[in-house]
């Protein structure tokens, strides 16, 4: 199958399970939203897919991309197929956007190596992320939304070859963005998902319901439901997972959800 899948993945740190026997899939061409309360294991799942679990973490089960098991791959090979944009990426303020995006080519280099054609990839990635105009600006001068685009462009530059996209994992991509930038970013994510699997974690359930093709609901490391937004995000599930009452309204331009505290 073309796409990304978790197969009975478990992750534990010092005996405490962060992810517990989780399986889900994210087909290419679709945006998959990973939702669940704080501490549900969403970010840990993304890190497990990218192969950057903390040092003390142990894991079982596996991850497949287009049918290929990722666990056995060398780190650099894996980094060409899967790109992760984390919530808190340090940005060196004096680096230009172009220099930052060039770092996306790291998995294609040996330690002392050097390869031609990088600039072509960097230009293409900047263009795909709508960040060509930012190329010569320093990161310290960029707004949050612009910076997020540069991080996205860096992830796009990791791809194995031009026209051969890598899977994209986005941890809370809309965090700290105002509504206009949120919509722009989501539209960009939508375009990028045309030919690759995109998985993003989101806290805003209405945003997930409106902008994702598939939703995976996780709680305490386990997968509770997986499928289309309206099948997964029901008032009953929101009540049992988050402990709040929810009213879900479908509107022509998306989904609106209102919440109330549960009456005792």
């Amino acid at each position: 199958m073309s796409g990304l899948s978790l197969e009975r993945l478990s992750v534990a740190v010092r005996g405490r399970a962060l992810v517990d026997d989780a399986s889900w899939s994210a087909p290419a061409g679709q945006v998959t939203a990973l939702v669940g309360p704080n501490g549900a294991g969403k970010s840990t799942m993304l890190r497990a897919i990218a192969g950057v679990l903390p040092e003390r973490a142990t894991h079982a089960g596996g991850v497949r991309l287009d049918g290929v098991r990722l666990d056995g791959l060398p780190a650099r090979e894996r980094a060409r197929r899967i790109a992760l944009v984390e919530q808190s990426t340090d940005a060196v303020p004096q680096l230009t956007a172009r220099e930052a995006v060039r770092l996306g080519r790291t998995p294609h280099h040996r330690m002392l190596g050097f390869s031609l054609g990088d600039e072509q990839h960097v230009d293409a990635a900047l263009a795909d992320a709508g960040a060509s105009g930012l190329a010569d600006r320093q990161l310290g001068e960029l707004s949050g939304g612009e910076l997020q685009r540069v991080h996205l462009a860096r992830a796009l530059a990791q791809r194995p070859a031009l026209g051969e996209p890598s899977a994209l994992l986005l941890d809370e991509p809309t965090n700290h963005l105002d509504v206009a930038w949120q919509l722009e970013l989501l539209a960009l994510v939508r375009r990028l998902a045309l030919d690759r699997p995109v998985v993003m974690t989101v806290h805003d359930l209405a945003l997930a319901a409106t902008h994702a093709d598939r939703v995976v609901l996780v709680d305490r490391g386990r997968v509770l439901a997986e499928g289309t937004p309206d099948a997964v995000l029901t008032a009953e599930r929101i009540r049992s997972v988050y402990g709040v009452e929810a009213t879900i309204d479908a509107a022509p331009d998306g989904v609106a959800i209102r919440y109330r505290r549960m009456s005792a």
Binding site: R47, V52, S88, D90, M111, R137, A187, G254
Partner: protein, 377 residues
């Protein structure tokens, strides 16, 4: 329905007017890579010119052409216009000291830039791993016991190597202690590395103080103080050679620029780019400590060069390490060469330990960089 959201503006999000003002801090940052590379050529030219100037400056003034001719004559090209005394001053006294100063300065600045990236801390310098404190223990032990002098009396030139050898051994022990402590605590993450370095440095400093307090008097005390402050006064062709070896060891570090840029994103982000973070950091820390150990063994712990030069050079060539590392090396060589020339010539007939000069220059420069908001992690 969802597909149409925001489609109009996404063509080029960067042009969204309200969110992309140039901002008060916007500087013309579109300096081309070629322009920045020219900075390397400029620094290199300046270093050579200052090197020639330093060979001419001192109690015995020499014209630049004569100094160059004297060096050429020693290499077997032409005849020296200087007498045997002038010849000896330029070629046997000043030249090795100039080379040692340039090599130590270059090495310290490169290692400082690498360390700042490895531990993601703008305060990092080459001595972060406790290397200089460990070297001080070795050196002070030799100076206090008079071991170097007695060995020199017995063995000649080999005995003179006792001091740098003991200093280097002390540096290695400190490195092993620091990385061992960080590793035992769960791995050499930036924070653990810094903390372990502080612990080892404090312990080594305590040993140095104890030894001085217990045993040192008169001449030994003066010698120890000069060593602790950092000085190139004792430079010979042998110490210049050790310092140059240190710089040669530092050359592979120059190629780590891309990896250092990736590490600056954070350990996890670097890992997601396929970098083996633990192995890379460990290798580079060991390389840095070896280079620092070699440099410290000939010059003592000269402060501020490894801390301030990388910050200043970032203003010149940007933060990307591919250029920052070689530019820091050249700038560090220039700074220490100038400082050492001032140290030996400005207060004639007395000579200052160069560490005092670098601190006197470095502290206000660092303060200025801080006040203008240019010191960033």
């Amino acid at each position: 329905m969802t597909r149409t959201v925001g489609d109009r503006r996404v063509a080029d999000g960067s042009s969204r007017p309200a969110a992309t003002p140039a901002g008060p801090g916007a500087r013309p940052t579109a300096r081309s890579r070629a322009g920045r590379a020219w900075a390397l050529v400029g620094l290199g030219g300046l270093l050579v010119a200052l090197g020639v100037a330093a060979a001419c400056i001192g109690v015995a003034g020499v014209a630049p052409a004569d100094a160059l001719a004297a060096v050429a004559a020693r290499l077997g090209i032409g005849a020296s216009p200087l007498g045997p005394v002038g010849d000896a001053i330029v070629v046997d006294l000043r030249l090795p000291r100039i080379l040692a100063a340039a090599a130590v300065g270059a090495g310290l600045a490169i290692v400082g830039a690498v360390m700042q990236a490895l531990v993601r801390n703008p305060l990092a310098d080459p001595y972060l791993l406790g290397v200089s404190s460990g070297a001080s223990v070795g050196a002070v032990l030799v100076l206090v016991t008079g071991l170097g002098a007695s060995l020199t009396a017995g063995l000649g030139g080999i005995g003179a190597a006792a001091l740098p050898a003991a200093a280097f051994a002390g540096a290695l022990l400190a490195l092993v202690a620091t990385l061992g402590l960080a590793g035992a605590a769960g791995g050499a993450t930036p924070t653990r590395t810094v903390l372990a370095g502080v612990v080892v440095a404090s312990a080594a400093s305590a040993v140095v103080s104890l030894v001085i307090f217990w045993r040192a008097d008169g001449d030994a005390f003066r010698e120890i103080l000069a060593w602790l402050l950092g000085s190139l006064a004792a430079s010979t062709w042998a110490s210049a050679a050790i310092a140059l070896v240190g710089v040669v060891l530092a050359l592979p570090l120059l190629a780590s620029g891309r990896v250092l840029d990736a590490l600056a994103l954070g350990d996890s982000a670097a890992g997601a780019l396929g970098v083996d973070v633990r192995r890379t950091r460990w290798l580079l820390l060991v390389a840095c400590a070896l280079v620092t150990g070699a440099l410290v063994s000939v010059s003592g712990a000269i402060g501020f060069v490894g801390l301030v030069v990388p910050h200043a050079v970032r203003l010149l060539v940007g933060a990307s390490h591919a250029l920052l590392l070689p530019a820091s090396g050249l700038a560090g060589a220039i700074v220490l060469l100038v400082a050492d020339t001032v140290a030996r010539a400005a207060f004639d007939p007395r000579e200052l330990p160069v560490g005092i000069v670098t601190a006197l220059i470095g502290a206000p420069v660092f303060a200025a960089l801080m006040l203008t908001g240019r010191v960033r992690s």
